[in-house]
């Protein structure tokens, strides 16, 4: 059956419930948040309708600017680590038997669905002095004494790469699984080693996919909220942590909303970049 334009009002009926739900519970809350970001804060946790830029002005102060800078750099580091690890992995995975792929996909989905709390708890255990990885190193005779590896920046980075790695693989998977195998076969026939074929044929072909993936993982990492708290020091806290802190503990909703709106703008800008990168890929 061909798709047809709606003929009668009744044809729109199926759209009614989804449209109402998404409008009331996503568009309206989003609008409320933007409105609140301009509101005036009252002492004691309340706020009154107003139209002031104070919240944004405060956000652009040196301290919060520093947090924003740290959040962005951390997300970039996570995105780069994940793509570097996941690209060859996903490529090799898509060349394996389908049954092997399924097992790996189940594992990746299971890790991806893990709560940030659980990932944070697991890695803080792994990095702890009493139950941590250093005990294994001591047992192997590689270290003399067990020690705690957290809180530290590398602990935060490891936890976040762990969280984002399955996501990265799943974002890369469709593009790599559809990659024309004759491309690498041609390179191999002409005498290139598999590694050389990967870097001279696969990577350049996927340039736009890689850029889009970097941006998507970056956005994913930007949302990380608990890992910096569980594995890092206060100077490793990200914008997400500060937004929640302001909203829940400081009861400063207008300020939290202003930071969230700013985060949305950054994210949307990056999504637009992904779309542009994707378009260029289609033309090429």
């Amino acid at each position: 059956m061909r798709r047809e334009p709606p003929q009668t009002i009744g044809d729109y009926a199926p759209l009614l419930f989804p449209a109402a739900m998404l409008t009331i519970f996503f568009v309206v809350p989003f609008g409320t948040m933007i409105a609140v970001s301009f509101f005036q804060r009252q002492q004691g946790g309340f706020y009154t309708p107003a139209f002031v830029y104070d919240n944004y002005a405060r956000f652009l102060s040196a301290f919060f600017g520093g947090v924003l800078g740290f959040s962005l750099s951390l997300a970039i580091a996570v995105a780069v680590c994940c793509v570097v690890l996941a690209l060859p992995f996903t490529y090799l995975l898509t060349r394996m038997a389908r049954s092997v792929q399924v097992v790996w996909l189940v594992v990746l989905l299971s890790v991806l669905s893990l709560s940030e709390v659980i990932i944070g708890f697991a890695w803080s255990t792994l990095f702890s002095r009493t139950a941590g990885i250093t005990n294994i190193l001591v047992a192997l005779g590689l270290m003399t004494e067990a020690k705690a590896l957290t809180p530290s920046f590398s602990a935060v980075l490891t936890g976040m790469v762990y969280q984002a790695f399955p996501y990265t693989v799943l974002v890369l998977f469709p593009a790599l699984v559809r990659l024309d195998p004759t491309l690498t076969e041609a390179a191999r026939t002409l005498g290139a080693s598999p590694v050389k074929a990967f870097f001279t044929v696969v990577v350049p072909t996927l340039r736009n996919t890689i850029i889009a993936t970097l941006i998507m993982v970056f956005i994913f990492a930007l949302g990380s909220y608990l890992l910096p708290q569980l594995l890092g020091r206060p100077q490793h806290w990200t914008l997400s942590v500060l937004i929640t802190d302001q909203a829940i503990y400081q009861s400063n909703m207008p300020f939290a909303a202003a930071m969230a709106v700013f985060l949305v703008l950054v994210t949307l800008g990056l999504v637009a970049l992904t779309v542009i990168a994707g378009r260029k890929g289609e033309v090429a």
Partner: protein, 266 residues
């Protein structure tokens, strides 16, 4: 040479993914209430704790109830929308698809804060049902994506034939579309269910002070020190997720759901 390299590389990735879980599983069977690995003694009592200790049991019941209901609501929102977009030419309706994907694309703290301001303004802050709606909106993306994929795989000539024989939309939906789309409904539900079970920040910011889900309970418990029950809950959660995704893979085409071509196309 390259084969050895590949095996080693896959082994390292597997180790990286498994290591935290191995340690947590080890900790979960510790006999004493200490954080120790390798485990000292062997005891499964911490698994019993999840079901016998009222605090952990309540959190488990809250999490499962929330996941069951919010995943159902997410499917109820996604199914008519995906069907409409498949059945009708209405370009402006794509905006709702965009809205359905947006909450999952943006950093979760944004959806969480938006809903928090909304529930607070509307005067419903802290009501348990607000968490169900919040999760449904947050995870509607997952059934929406699987269902859109499912609809594109339906052979339109089948539907055409039924229409030529005089079947109306309702009959076509019941007899042709629904049976074909059912695996995608189930997998969309499964994805939303598992992710809702593990979700922290949206639940925390909407009902965190009145209702404790398991992730919230684990986080709160973490702040006041360590209990091995956290480890056993973690093992329980990972196993649940692995079982559910294995079932999806067993009865559906997992690589296809995740974007590969159909199995006969490759």
């Amino acid at each position: 040479m390259t084969s050895i390299f590949r095996k080693f590389y896959f082994f390292l990735i597997a180790l990286f993914l498994a290591l935290p879980l191995i340690v947590v599983a080890g900790v979960s069977v510790n006999q004493k209430q200490t954080l120790a690995f390798p485990p000292q003694g062997l005891s499964v009592s911490w698994y019993g704790e999840i079901f016998t200790n009222p605090e952990w049991r309540n959190a488990l019941v809250a999490s499962v109830t929330l996941a069951v209901l919010s995943a159902a609501l997410a499917v109820a929102i996604a199914l008519p929308l995906a069907w409409f977009l498949w059945r009708r030419v209405a370009p402006w309706a794509n905006i709702f698809q965009l809205l359905g994907v947006a909450p999952f694309t943006l950093p979760p703290v944004i959806t969480a804060l938006g809903l928090l301001t909304f529930w607070a303004t509307a005067g419903f802050y802290g009501q348990p049902w607000t968490a169900v709606v919040s999760h449904a909106i947050f995870f509607v993306t997952l059934p929406l994506v699987t269902l859109s994929l499912g609809f594109t795989s339906i052979d339109r000539s089948l539907v055409e034939a039924a229409a030529t024989m005089g079947a109306d939309d309702r009959t076509i939906f019941r007899t042709i579309v629904l049976p074909l789309i059912l695996p995608y409904i189930v997998s969309g539900y499964a994805f939303a269910f598992v992710l809702s079970l593990n979700e922290y920040i949206v639940a925390y910011m909407t009902v965190g002070f009145t209702m404790e889900t398991l992730p919230i309970k684990i986080f709160n418990a973490l702040r006041y020190g360590y209990t091995p029950t956290m480890a056993s809950v973690t093992v329980l959660f990972v196993s649940t997720a692995a079982i559910i995704f294995s079932l999806v893979a067993r009865f559906g085409d997992l690589p296809k759901l995740l974007g590969a071509m159909s199995s006969d196309g490759k």
